[in-house]
Amino acid sequence: MSDEAVPAIKPSLPEEQPMIPQPLVELHGWGRASGTMAHLAQIDSVADAVSALRTSDTTRGVVPRGLGRSYGDAAQNAGGTALDLTKMNRILSLDAVGEPPTVTVQAGVSLDLLMRALLPFGLWVPVLPGTRQVTVGGAIAADVHGKNHHTEGSFGNHVRSLDLLMADGHVRKVTPQGDTAALFWATVGGMGLTGAVLRATVALQRAETAYFSVDTDRCSDIDDLMQKMSNGDEGYTYSVAWFDAVTKGRHLGRAVLTRGNKARLAELPMKLKRDPLKFVAPSLGTLPEVFPNRMINKATAKAFSEVWYRKAPKRRVGELQNITQFFHPLDMVAEWNRVYGPHGFLQYQFVVPFDQEDPFRRCLEMIVNSGHLSCLNVLKRFGEGNPSPLSFPMPGWTLTVDLPIEHGLDKLCDALDTEVVGAGGRVYLAKDSRLSAATFRKMYPRLDDFLAVRREVDPDGIFNSDLARRLELSKPILGGAA
């Protein structure tokens, strides 16, 4: 591994500096569909964060921002301040011998950086979402999940403590148990609205190798897929399916199911045994900003779906894959979201409980028959949720589609919302850029628990965002001073 990827381990020194008013810049989510202008404050230290909070315009508030991978407006704050925490990227301490091992990092450390630093010690980040380009702070705020949700839960389950910059300017250590448990769990999945995570201690797993032993199954339709997943998932730590959201009729929902476990050292061939913890992360470059709006059209979407389905073997067992192959194929291409053109796209991810297979199928049919085209479609079974009131995962089926912004997409999404609400399911806030406040409330029955914590720690709604205003999580609801 390269040395420059591991930062020097030293605590940040508080230096009191007056914050210079930042110019307005356009900030958007990964979907690039509804950007707004905000003041971006570069945060290099805890002192910077405190001072940015104290000097910010209280009517528009502040929102913490990491690598901007949430798809919608979660890390946007029109007219207010966004705290850019990506420079707070130091790994502060590592306990490699403890059980479990733990690492303490600043919030701006990306999972990419963390993985690269931990692998040589045979340590493994317990939850990895579909990209490594997220910060630890963002992973907590969105309570991200990965292919191992059914066995390991979401990111918040593995956080042992965190330092939270509160609306009153104080930094408080909060933990999953004890007096601060309510605040801890409201922060997990709280989209940055309880405060800014500045530092976190995360429990780690051990890994003998950086490879996965992967079984691949091609499934001829949605029923085949759901049956295979229901019957076999428990035998694998990691499980996810790509499905075809273009093909209609008999092969509706045909899919490629990949499931795997971390490979043991003994499973590696001699060639790989020499460097079993090698992190393979090739880069194919950065997509230029040249794509038109209709790059994803009927022809390209059909061709892509056909190739993706056909290139997978009917059944293959025990294939060794590296981290990038198994987890993050999209990370090979930087700024891949540009392929959708200037209008951008949205990702619709929902979950419905296990006994709601019929509405789940109806949603899939609606998407396939809508004429809106999605290529990157993911289906997964979730395991148990956690105590966070706004965390997304719950036991059930989750489905994700990427839809380019086009005329009529609002109608499709509204119709999907209705099915999802009817089935007792919900939409993932880290992906959302369009939900209405009323629908959101129906999807998150524990919203009031979250608001109670927020009212207590941030009655004036200092922590605010476009998402907070859209979903009515901000000032008027909190009842703070106008």
Partner: protein
């Protein structure tokens, strides 16, 4: 904020009982959308509010008197009391009798005040609010009558020429603050304002204007003609020499 699929959460309609304003409201109406109807108190305003409430919108009525400049700040304060405004439409206006208007100083002044001074005054106030929230659209209803002012209705036309220029400029001033201004130049709109007048070719309905407005906002366009073909017509007319222009039956 206007969400990723182009749906606003809040609308402010200044001149909230105008046919065009209400047509725009209907285009955006869905459950939970906040609509502020700013207009003179009237039966018509109540009826409009009830109709929009019936579509699931949250409606607030606010008093607006275009000629009472001192009241404008309060109107805008009340309009923003419920939170950010995503789209503000300035839709009030007076046509007046064209021949009377250029000979009756009071009527000429009234047209200038209602069609020009009031939108400018409210436009500045709106601009301040929108600048602070750093997002949103101001939609100003101009007219092709202002693009080349003609003898047959030049008092009205001159007010629209002024308002058109002001809002185009406001759009330039606000764009670095995340705010967009859309200037709409309709031709002849069949509405209560023009009832009794003779229809001319390329006439449109208030809903045609509303559709063009929603599409322009979706496409982030800042100057439109309704119908679109008028753009070509007007670009020709703009260059007709005056001796010839004066003889045209328009």
């Amino acid at each position: 904020m206007i969400n990723a699929v182009g749906a606003p959460q809040s609308l402010l309609l200044l001149g909230g009982t105008s046919d065009i304003a209400l047509a725009i409201a209907h285009r955006y109406a869905r459950t939970g959308v906040r609509i502020v109807l700013a207009a003179r108190p009237s039966e018509r305003r109540i009826a409009a509010a009830n109709e929009l409430k019936g579509l699931g919108c949250e409606v607030t009525e606010v008093d607006l008197d275009a000629r009472d400049h001192d009241s404008h700040a309060t109107t805008i304060d009340l309009a923003f009391a419920g939170g950010d405004i995503d789209i503000a439409v300035i839709a009030f206006g007076l046509l007046g009798d064209a021949e009377r208007a250029w000979q009756d100083p009071d009527l000429a002044l009234e047209l200038a005040e209602v069609n020009y001074a009031a939108p400018v005054h409210l436009g500045v106030l709106l601009g301040q609010r929108m600048q602070a929230q750093a997002h949103g659209w101001i939609v100003a209803l101009s007219s092709v009558a202002g693009e080349r002012v003609r003898r047959s209705n030049f008092v009205y036309g001159s007010t629209k020429a002024g308002v058109d220029g002001f809002f185009l400029g406001l759009g330039e001033a606000l764009r670095d603050h995340g705010v967009r201004v859309l200037v709409v130049r309709p031709g002849f709109v069949k509405s209560k304002m023009t009832s009794g007048l003779k229809e001319i070719p390329l006439s449109v309905t208030p809903d045609d204007v509303a559709e063009a407005v929603t599409e322009a906002i979706n496409g982030k366009r800042e100057l439109i003609w309704v119908p679109g073909t008028l753009r070509v017509v007007m670009s020709g007319l703009r260059h007709v020499p005056r001796p010839l222009f004066r003889r045209l039956p328009i």
